[in-house]
Each structure stands twice: as structure tokens, then as C-alpha cells.
């Protein structure tokens, strides 16, 4: 080929650039590329434009001037947040709620999955699972509404505690019970559903392992400890790594519904702060700065949790 190309100086050996190849490919598969257009625009506009929009955390953003013309403020909003002293409250509210939820809501589906795994009647298992999955599909507004109707003044639980204790508990306003209510609602809503991923991992366990252990005389507790738990260990670690990444996320859609003037001292987490001062209060730059710090911490948490997982000999997230 090269000889012939040299003989005819007018014809260069074909060496098309990447873009040339892409152009040819686009012509050949034009429908595939046309189909990509809506999705790519979607990701650029609704995912990447907001990432660029984080720039307003360093500006005094004004909706009239826009992100390019607004005045540059540097780290002003970050300094302002840490000078309010209230930030300690927001952070501690966030962390306490988050760790309470990790301690109580994280193990719940694991325990339930292990219990379901021990049930041998397929019908009984099916029926109970069907019932346990129901709350997952119920919206958070309805979960909170049911809570208001049942725990609010005049509600059935309110009356029962009044009769039992002799005095009533303000379930919806008392700051002392606020976190327990949130954790309780989360457990009710997601525990049953959370079992699916662990049950899926448990179906992969080789039944021969159990048979071998039985021949060796292992009792049920020993089989659970030495076969079942190691089988779901990597799933547990993976879920925990993911959970650690959202340690500063407190489920604002849920908290906003449950927070009120009485429980403000404990319901104000970083998320709720951003919602109330940002979307409701219009302090866009200030709250974007707080949100940015949250995101940075989340990334650090995922990376370090993943490191810990590797150190424990697990695959982790990546």
C-alpha cells in the first residue's frame, strides 16, 4: 500500500483523525447518536450545570446578576458559618441523628433477614415478606401523617401512654423523643425492604456447607456464626461503606415534615438548615457553601470507609 501511495503523491495514506472517524461513525449510525441527544442534554443540564453552579458558594450570588456577574466573595460564607457558633448545634444534631440511625436502623434488616432465612415454610415466609415490604411503598408524607394521627394528641398511642404512665407524652413536640420518632419511622418504613439484599446474598450460600457442618456436629448457632454470617459479610460491609458516605445526610424530606417550633433545638440538622435558609430564606450563596462542605465530607467519608473495608480484607465499593 505504501509503495502505491508513494507512486501517486496526490493520494495520501489513509490516516483519519479521531474526529474524522467519529464523523464517519455518526453518519453510519446516525439514529443511535440522535437517540443519545436527550439523555446527554439531561445529564449536562440537570447534573453537571448544578455542579458548576456550586461556584456561587464563593460569590455574593444575586439572581438578577447571575453566576458570572455576581461579586466574588472568596471564603466569606465558610468563615461566616463557622463564626455563628450555631454550626456546632447543626453538626451535632446531624451526627447524633445519623449515628443513632446507623446503630438502630442499620442492623435491623440484617437481623430480620437472618430470622427470615431460618423459616422453612415457604408460604409463611412469602406471607410475612409481603406484609413487611408494604411500608416501603408508602410515601414519607403518609408515614408522617399516620404518625400524627396515631401519636398526636387524641391518637391511640397518645391515649395508651396516658393511661399507662398517668401523664401524656408530647410525641410530636418533645425534643427528647424527636430522634426516637425519626429512627422509629425509618425502621418501620425500610427494615422489611432492606432484608431483600441480604436474603439475595444468603441464597448464594452453598447448602453443602451446611450439610458438612452438620456432619461435623455444628449446632444451629455455630452454623449461623461460621457459615451464614461470613456469607453476607461482604454485603454488610458494602452497605456500611455506602451508609458512611451519607453520614451527613439526614433525609431532609422526612425531617422537614417532622420538625416544628417545639423540637427545633434537635431537628435542625445541616440539611434542614440548608433548606430553611436557602430555599425558604433565599440565602443561596451561604447555604450552597454549607452544602459544599457537606459534599466534601461525604466524599472523604466514602473514601476512608472504603479504605477500612480494604484493610478488613473486603472488596468494598471500588
Amino acid at each position: 500500500m505504501s509503495v502505491r501511495a508513494a507512486d501517486h503523491p496526490g493520494i495520501q495514506p489513509k490516516k483519519t483523525s479521531y474526529w474524522g472517524k467519529l464523523g464517519k461513525d455518526i453518519l453510519k449510525n446516525k439514529w443511535l447518536y440522535i437517540m443519545l441527544i436527550p439523555g446527554v442534554i439531561y445529564f449536562l443540564v440537570f447534573k453537571y450545570l448544578p455542579m458548576w453552579g456550586v461556584i456561587i458558594a464563593f460569590e455574593d450570588y444575586s439572581p438578577f446578576l447571575g453566576p458570572i456577574k455576581s461579586a466574588w466573595k472568596g471564603l466569606y460564607w465558610f468563615q461566616r458559618f463557622f463564626s455563628t457558633k450555631k454550626w456546632v448545634d447543626y453538626l451535632s444534631n446531624t451526627l447524633i441523628l445519623s449515628f443513632m440511625s446507623i446503630i438502630f436502623t442499620f442492623p435491623a434488616p440484617i437481623i430480620l433477614a437472618l430470622m427470615l432465612n431460618e423459616i422453612r415454610s415457604i408460604h409463611y415466609k412469602k406471607i410475612t415478606q409481603t406484609l413487611l415490604y408494604v411500608p416501603h411503598f408508602i410515601s414519607i408524607v403518609i408515614v408522617v401523617s399516620i404518625t400524627y394521627v396515631i401519636f398526636g394528641a387524641g391518637g391511640i398511642i397518645y391515649k395508651v401512654t396516658e393511661n399507662l404512665l398517668g401523664h401524656s407524652i408530647d410525641y410530636l413536640g418533645d425534643p427528647k423523643v424527636f430522634r426516637w420518632m425519626i429512627v422509629g419511622q425509618s425502621i418501620w418504613k425500610e427494615t422489611g425492604w432492606g432484608t431483600i439484599i441480604f436474603l439475595a446474598a444468603l441464597t448464594n450460600v452453598d447448602t453443602q456447607l451446611y450439610e458438612a457442618a452438620m456432619i461435623d456436629g455444628a449446632n444451629r448457632a455455630q452454623r449461623l456464626w461460621h457459615i451464614t454470617l461470613p456469607a453476607i459479610r461482604s454485603t454488610i460491609v458494602l452497605m456500611l461503606v455506602l451508609r458512611m458516605g451519607s453520614v451527613l445526610d439526614t433525609g431532609y424530606e422526612h425531617l422537614i415534615l417532622m420538625s416544628n417550633a417545639l423540637n427545633r433545638s434537635v431537628s435542625q440538622t445541616l440539611d434542614v438548615f440548608v433548606y430553611q435558609n436557602g430555599i425558604k430564606g433565599g440565602q443561596y450563596s451561604y447555604t450552597t457553601a454549607v452544602g459544599l462542605m457537606k459534599s466534601v465530607v461525604s466524599v472523604i467519608m466514602v473514601v476512608s470507609a472504603n479504605k477500612v473495608a480494604h484493610a478488613l480484607g473486603e472488596e468494598g465499593l471500588y
Binding site: 439514529w31 408508602i138 418501620w188 450439610e211 456432619i215 450552597t288
Partner: protein, 318 residues
Amino acid sequence: MAKDKKEITSVELNGKTVTVHAGPVGVYRTAGSVAFDIFNYLVIGLVAFTTVLPIIYIIFNSFATELELQTRPMFLIPNTWSVDAYKYIFASSKLLRAFGNSIFITACGTAINLFFTVTMAYPLSKKFLRGRKGLLNMVIISMFFSGGMIPGYIVVASWLGMRGTYWALLLPGAISAYNMMIVKNFFQGIPQDLEESASLDGCNDMGILWKIVLPLSLPVLATFGLFYAVGHWNSYFGAMIYLTDDKMYPLQLILRNIIVTAEAAAGDMSLMDPNFVEPPKESIKMAVIVVATVPIMCVYPFLQKYFVKGVMVGALKG
């Protein structure tokens, strides 16, 4: 169960013959093991029953008269059955309109979701497509990083000017990156021969997608259609922050306003009806909860089947 008791092998152990049964439990049914089984069945049953109890309670109580709700201390089954609360709801233009709005948002939103998800997943399932790697990375990165609540809000509400329109509820979540990746993986599993033969018959890529790939993917589309639809039906936050006209509110937001912020159930009734009487508040709350949950419960059998499958697929591929 007879099936579980099936003997699979007998072995000699320390001079005595041990029979091994199929299934995870079987050799020695010690008293402790039996006791554990009874305990386990009871606890699971109790947990499953308690999980749905609040919903059952709300359903029964929504048929009680307001008088009974006010005077009788606590009950599950009402003495006198009444449908006043439901009559009231279906006479309230506000609640009916909200119900209609929710149906509209769910239908349009799900259609948009499926269109965007499929049109993006199909080209990305073609390994020969140039730029595929880069686009996949773009999608994956967006799963781990986001601009946060406020930049996202500003982009939708201010830069795109979608505030006060349904577009703000329909477009920002048009593609779930996670769902799109699973659909893409499914498309990759469809045999290429089928598509090639259609291509020889003069079908372009759009035709192949419509006539061959989509009919083969109906179960997957049903799964993710339901995922998206439940998300739309259950969401209130987008409507709360983006919508300005309360005539456009979906049911979940109205429910929140009725119960959580204790707004009057139907403000417009008192103006329209000269014989307006104070609405039966408690029973209305319960009836609205029931009405907002019924559509989900109607599709629940399908939901359970497809959702569990969807979670399993995600768990295995992810």
C-alpha cells in the same frame, strides 16, 4: 414439611448412624432448636403483623363516625360504620383536583422517564459506539457527586425558569442513572443476531429499538416504569418548592398541608356552600391517608414481584 425431611444420605459417625436430611436444618432436632423455631415463627409473625397494623387501624378508623372517634377511648373496629369522610373528600373540589394532578404528574412523569431512560440506554448498550466510555463515565460520576440542594434548585427554578410549572417536577429526575445502567445492561444481553437480521431487512436503529428490542424488554420496562411511577406518586418535595399555584398541587402536598401543617381540609367548601358545616376532622385525615395510599396498594402485587426482581438485578450487577 415433608419435602424438607427427605433423607439424602446416612453416614456412620462414632459408631452410630446419622441420617442427614435436605435443607439447612435437619440432623438433630434438639429441644433448643425446636424452641428457637417456635420463637422465630412467632416473632416474625408478630413483626409482620405490627408492620401493617397502623395501616389497618387507619383504614378501619376512617369508616368511624366523628362522634365515635372523639368519645370512644380506643378501638380498631368502629361500632357504627360511616362513609361521611369519603363523601366529604369526593365532594371537595380541592382534594379531587389534587388527586387528578397526581395522576397527571405520575402518567406524564413516567412516560418522560421511560423515554429518556430507553433512548439513552439503547445507544450506550452498543459496544462499538464511539465516545461510549466517556458518556458512561459521565453518568457514573453523576451518581457520586452532585451540586447539592441549592444549585439544583437555582438551575431549575431560576436559570431554566421552570418555577411554577409541572416541568420542574417532570424533567429534573427524568433519568435515574442507576436504573439507566441496569436497562443498558439488559439491552446488552439481547442477542445481536435478532437486531442484525432486522437491519438487513432495511430497519434503521430506531425501528430495531421499537420493533425488536422494546417488545423483548417489556418485563424490564414494567419494573422501571413502576419504580418511576411510585416515585412520582409519592413525592411532595418538588411540588412544595417549585409550584406556586395551589390548584396545581399533587395529593401528597395537600395531605401534608392538611395533616402536618393542619390546614383546613377544604378551604373552598366554606365559600361555595352556604350550609357549610365544620368538617369531621379526624376521620377526614384518616380517609385522605387511605385515598392517597389506595392506588399504591392496588398495584402492590405487581410492585412486589417486579421490585424485588429489580433490586436483585441491581444487587448482582452493581
